[in-house]
């Protein structure tokens, strides 16, 4: 396979909440069309990293470069417009708005008020088409996760950041979500960064896994290697 161009580059990133530093000078790069999983125990800075990339937390030091642009210091809406979408932990769908309105907001955010929901979103998640007049809050957990991913994809991002997509979902639904995500990467060329506790899902979705500990990267390995060598996985996750 031809090595692809780097699309996201994080260089010496420091960030945190209030007085405490969570990310301690972290650096890594992600290639266009690559799927990366961020693994690590709780409180190691995985969510903080996604929030810092998205501009929800200020970078105290270091750089975030995406498709040749500096993104650190920019506001979340500018970062979204540059082509990064974020599905936060807990999904954060608009419970009072209909499924269709949720998707529409995803499309509008990137392409302006005149945008329409791309038809392929309904093709990918048929349940959303069926329920499109229903309020988002009435959907089941799995459907809400599909809605949150669908809403992010409606803006046709180049890079998708996913925080704990498996949280609170039944195993069968987790499989389905994993399959849908894998398809986006292989067939649509989406670049994906997934934060996951569910190692199984991470290994299915990601080409490469990065291990975070105390706000820095401590190791990385291709998913194929980790699948054949679970001992390595256990060592890095210290379980």
């Amino acid at each position: 396979m031809m090595p692809k161009a780097t699309v996201l580059e994080i260089d010496g990133l420091e960030s945190g909440y209030g007085g405490s530093l969570v990310l301690r000078g972290l650096s890594f790069a992600v290639a266009e069309g690559e799927s990366v999983a961020l693994l690590g125990r709780n409180g190691m800075g995985k969510t903080t990293l996604l929030r810092a990339i998205m501009g929800l937390l200020p970078a105290r030091r270091g750089e975030v470069r995406f498709a040749g642009q500096r993104l650190d210091g920019r506001r979340p809406e500018q970062i979204a417009k540059a082509g990064i979408a974020f599905v936060p932990q807990g999904r954060e769908i608009f419970a009072d708005l209909s499924v269709e309105e949720n998707l529409l907001l995803g499309a509008m955010g990137r392409a302006g008020l005149g945008a329409a929901v791309p038809e392929e979103i309904y093709g990918r998640f048929p349940i959303l088409k069926e329920r499109r007049r229903q309020r988002g809050g009435t959907l089941s957990g799995g459907q809400q996760q599909q809605l949150a991913i669908g809403r992010a994809l409606a803006g046709r991002p180049r890079l998708l950041l996913l925080d704990e997509p498996s949280e609170g979902l039944q195993p069968s639904i987790v499989q389905e979500v994993a399959k849908a995500l894998r398809r986006e990467v292989s067939a649509e060329g989406l670049t994906l960064i997934t934060v996951e506790q569910n190692v199984d899902l991470a290994l299915r979705v990601a080409d490469r896994c990065l291990f975070l500990e105390n706000g820095d990267l401590v190791a990385e390995a291709p998913s194929a290697v980790l699948r054949q060598n679970p001992a390595l996985l256990h060592k890095h996750l210290a379980i």
């Binding site: 979340p76 979204a80 529409l104 509008m108 990137r110 005149g114």
Partner: protein, 286 residues
């Protein structure tokens, strides 16, 4: 029969005037969680803008549009200079907007003096309604109020702009992460609320004494309407204004204005006690 019809018309007129004044307040309070104590002064600015322009020979209609736009711009300035720094600091918004209200009121006194100004309605005809003559201008005010309510509902619940504005209000970070320019929507929503206050002031100016205290008389029933009806939904204050306005004007004309105040406040206290979130309590708003 004539008496009853007149009473009904007066009640409807009062209700709609409160709704007209409250609508801007509701948008800013209900949607942005800012209690705008300067709303009465925005109303005042709308009235003075109209008076000033009419004295300069500008037509009433142009004055009406200019007052709405001008007060909308004042709102934009208020949001940019003061309000944006204190969102989510509830008490501070009250204090800061109260300060603004005093500053605006005193500026008006300095420029125009404390005395009353007056202006004339563009038409003074009486319209015959089922045998009862009624001032056409009052009917016009009622029409404007209905348009404002209908237009506001349409804007916030039927347009893309309204959808994005509601998304920003429901969850700011999520909206921002989708690429929606949250600051632009803050500005637009606040300016829209202010512009409605300006419109209300300009529309009411010909039938009121235009003086620096004129905002106050409507601000109290407008706040009461919001408390009684609930601010979580735009329909709440409309309902609240209906209850308060109807009770007030019916009691005042059948018995006395003093008793009307007593009845209205008693009703408000009971309603707030029984329905602390307002009669139309919203579900799921954060």
């Amino acid at each position: 029969m004539d008496q009853a019809l007149l009473l009904l018309l007066d009640a409807a007129n009062y209700v709609l005037v409160i709704v007209l004044v409250a609508m801007g307040l509701v948008i800013v309070f209900g949607l942005m969680r800012v209690i705008n104590m300067a709303h009465g002064e925005l109303f005042l600015l709308g009235a003075y803008t109209l008076v000033m322009l009419q004295q300069a020979g500008v037509s009433y209609w142009l004055g009406l549009v200019a007052a709405t736009v001008f007060v909308g711009l004042v709102g934009l300035l208020m949001e940019e200079l003061v309000i944006r720094h204190i969102y989510h600091r509830f008490l501070d918004t009250i204090l800061a907007t109260w300060g603004l209200s005093i500053a605006i009121k005193q500026a008006v006194v300095l420029i125009f003096g404390p005395g009353a100004q007056s202006t004339t309605a563009p038409f003074t005809a009486q319209i015959d309604l089922f045998g009862t003559p009624y001032p056409a201008y009052r009917l016009f005010i009622m029409g404007v109020a209905l348009l404002v309510v209908g237009g506001t509902f349409y804007l916030f619940f039927r347009t893309r702009f309204g959808l994005a504005a509601r998304a920003v209000i429901a969850n700011r970070n999520t909206a921002a992460c989708l690429g929606i320019p949250t600051r632009a929507f803050d500005r637009a929503t606040f300016a829209y609320g202010a512009a409605l206050a300006g419109l209300a002031g300009a529309v009411m100016a010909p039938i009121m004494s235009v003086d620096p205290q004129m905002g106050l008389g409507f601000l109290i029933p407008a706040f009461l309407a919001i408390l009684v009806g609930g601010a979580g939904h735009l329909g709440g204050p409309v309902l609240g204004a209906g209850l308060i306005g109807a009770t007030d004007s019916v009691t005042a004309s059948l018995w006395s204005p003093v008793l009307a105040q007593v009845v209205v406040f008693t009703m408000a206290v009971v309603a707030i006690r029984l329905f602390p979130g307002g009669l139309l309590k919203s579900g799921g708003r954060r």
